[in-house]
Amino acid sequence: MLHQVFDHPSWHGAGVIALKTLAVYAFLVLGLRLLGKRELGQMSLYDVVLIIILGNAVQNAMINSDNTLGGGVVAAAVLLAANRVLNEVLSRSNRAQRLLVGEPVLIATDGKVLVEQMRREGITPEQLDAALREHGFESLDGVHSVILEVDGSMSVIPRQAPILRTRRHYRGLRLP
């Protein structure tokens, strides 16, 4: 029974699975980057469905319809390792982060809405108002700045906190 549990593909087969899995992951990262759907927070149900069926679509391409335990383990390990490498790169290089994940955008500052930035990011005035209300503000009075984050959420920084008055520049934010 044990040899049935721990069956494994040939070394050659395992290598093929590893390379195919790597190629599939690289393709998915590239494809998602090109489609421009990076904001997880702004994903609609359809985007999530797309990602789920993407996973199904690439299944046999990764494991070669290999039913062995070893095959699954090789593919899983390659995926985890590739994702780890990607996250290492993202956490070290600000350039990679900008390129693959995007960067935060200033939407409003000092009581003024930056209309151009808002238009470019596809944020409607209703969405801005909703974000302000979520943070307990009725209008931009008392708001130091509003920032669209890379995950699609909007941060609202109040003017009140004493330390915020002294701080003009945010790290990692390009001011207009």
């Binding site: 997880l40 990602i51 699954g72 899983a76 982060q97 890379v150 941060s155 906190a161 701080r167 790290r171």
Partner: protein
Amino acid sequence: MTATLIVPAVAMVSAHRVGVQSIKTLVIGVLLVVGFRVLGKREAAQLNVYDLVMLMALANAVQNAMTAGLGDLRVGLASAGTLLVAAWALTRVIVRRPALESRIVGAPVLLVYNGRVLQVRMRRNLVSSSELDEACRQHGVASPADCALAVLEVDGSISVIPADAVAHPSADPGGTAPPAGLRRRLRRTTRREHRHGH
């Protein structure tokens, strides 16, 4: 009628085979838990789209190893049942022995203390500086320099306590001592950061 529905005549699978597949499922479950602990990212709550697609592809990559690609109902039920029972058992073990929780699930990690970013911790937990900046802003704090504390929680989210909140009388009349549960960890962290020259 019901019998043919439950056990299709085409692919009769032996009980032995079902047992083999549930053991395979268990092996994969254990390997995935270990794999995520070693290679995975802590910030489960801050998944980016590439993490999500990795998860989906991962689930499919191990599918055939668990079910033998048979599409057999009994095999499916056996492997699903194995996973459920294993998850239940793990929860029981953690409830009985809380000390194991930090080993298996992880413990909260201090990332910022009194406006100072603890770089070693940041790197070890794969938190980029822009992710930390983002977490601060989402809590209404302009930058990590204005945090009393930022903590990477077990669930992967980053909690932020603004610098002035600590001075609030109800929070801590004495000064800027970190909240309970983080004190011991903090002493160790600051010692280590000191050695690394941060």
